[in-house]
């Protein structure tokens, strides 16, 4: 085979391989969705974060506006301190409400931001004051059973009261 044809084919091969690597990184992986350069960080304390993980999405009205970058346990107040990295394009007012939500019944957990009405916006390093913990299924069922039981007891008491 001619040397130039061989060079051509090897060039095509190497370029196709590098192109495949790039496609893997950008289209299949998450490298294309990162915009780590322009972002600011906020923190928030939660009583219970449930199954929230680092890199979980932060959503405002369902749109991904940032990521969870760090989760720490505060030994003084005994709650979880979550650090969020928010895209610079999205500004939120000071009285924004952060709650831990679940996408679907079995889906992953994310932080939902609901904007308040304050004039001033949250700045880099600010703390979100209004937070809402994750729903823990066991606690919910426990509370439901407790309510149900006390309700029944109340009606029983009423019945016995009427009987007298």
């Amino acid at each position: 085979m001619q040397r130039t044809t061989m060079d051509l084919w090897v060039g095509v091969f190497v370029m196709a391989g590098i192109g495949a690597l790039l496609l893997l990184a950008l289209k299949v992986g998450n490298l294309g969705t990162y915009s780590s350069a322009a972002s600011y960080t906020l923190t928030g304390s939660f009583e219970n974060i449930g199954g929230l993980k680092v890199k979980a999405p932060v959503k405002g009205a369902g749109v991904v506006v940032g990521r969870v970058t760090d989760i720490q346990f505060n030994t003084k107040t005994y709650d979880a301190v979550v650090t969020l990295s928010i895209d610079n394009r999205y500004q939120f007012p000071k009285d924004t409400f952060a709650s831990i939500l679940t996408s679907g019944l079995l889906g992953e957990q994310y932080i939902g931001l609901a904007a308040g009405g304050d004039e001033t916006a949250l700045k880099n390093g600010d703390k979100i004051m209004k937070t809402n913990s994750a729903m823990v299924l066991e606690e919910m069922i426990g509370r439901f059973l407790f309510d149900k039981a006390s309700e029944n007891k109340k009606t029983d008491d009423d019945k016995s009261g009427n009987g007298d």
Partner: protein, 265 residues
């Protein structure tokens, strides 16, 4: 009776010593190949020639098998996931299994049987027809001239082939899941991009393919160089290349996976 036992024990010892000797010989040969690869980088044309034979000619089998593996993954993944109403996660399943495991492993197995066996047969036949000895007579080092370029061509082309395998597989999964079955295209891609992490999944996959590339080509060139200079010896060496490479790939894959993906957060 005791004499027979002694003979049996001696046989075991003989085999152990032989295989340890061969392992040491192979490691020394590997080091020698690395030491003498300066020439092949100074004369890069040698590597390009071998890249054509190991890389370009393996493209067809890699692309076609990647496409079919991805399509099967799409079908099977859809079959299972739709029972849980999670058919939009089929993209995640196809991409993660290809990038982490199937891409590197299947591409390396195909590479070993397509290119590794060819390297062994070529070097073995050169030895059988005294071409290597003739080179030495002309003061040309056969390791620097014949072995090293083939080794480096294999090491370079393996990650590229595996990346093509994975991307074509993802495309095959897309064809089946989105075009044929009708899974939502947006959630197919977005869930995939959410789940596949560049550093954790893709870089680890690339590291795997580099390790497999070194292992497969090192085994192939060694078996060729070590082959008995007869027709039977060359055929035996070719068989050993494919078998040893396959075992090495699967064993190394387990070790690498347990180091890379243990205790994911």
């Amino acid at each position: 009776m005791p004499r027979r036992i002694v003979i049996g024990i001696r046989g075991v010892g003989h085999r152990v010593i032989d295989s340890v000797w061969r392992l040491g010989y192979a490691s020394r040969f590997f080091l020698l190949t690395l030491l003498k690869s300066g020439t092949s980088f100074r004369r890069f044309g040698l590597i390009i020639r071998e890249l054509y034979f190991t890389g370009v000619l393996s493209l067809v089998i890699i692309v076609v098998s990647g496409l079919f593996v991805g399509m099967v993954l799409g079908l099977q993944g859809y079959e299972t996931l739709q029972r849980f109403g999670a058919e939009s996660a089929v993209g995640t399943m196809v991409a993660l299994s290809l990038v982490r495991e199937l891409g590197p492993v299947v591409a390396a197995l195909l590479f070993a049987s397509r290119a590794g066996s060819a390297i062994t047969a070529e070097i073995g036949l050169m030895k059988a027809t005294d071409q290597l000895a003739a080179m030495e007579m002309m003061a040309v080092d056969p390791i620097a001239r014949v072995v090293a370029p083939r080794f480096w061509a294999g090491v370079i082309s393996m990650p590229l082939l595996a990346a093509m395998f994975s991307i074509i597989g993802v495309f095959g999964g897309y064809m089946v899941a989105v075009v044929l079955i009708g899974v939502d295209e947006g959630s197919f891609w977005s869930q995939m991009q959410d789940a596949v992490d560049f550093r954790y999944d893709i870089v680890n996959g690339i590291i795997k393919t580099c390790v497999f590339g070194v292992a497969v080509t090192a085994i192939a060139v060694f078996e060729g160089y070590d082959a008995a200079p007869t027709a039977e010896g060359v055929s035996g060496a070719t068989t050993r290349t494919v078998v040893t490479s396959a075992l090495a790939i699967l064993g190394l894959d387990f070790v690498l996976t347990s180091v890379m993906f243990r205790g994911m957060s």
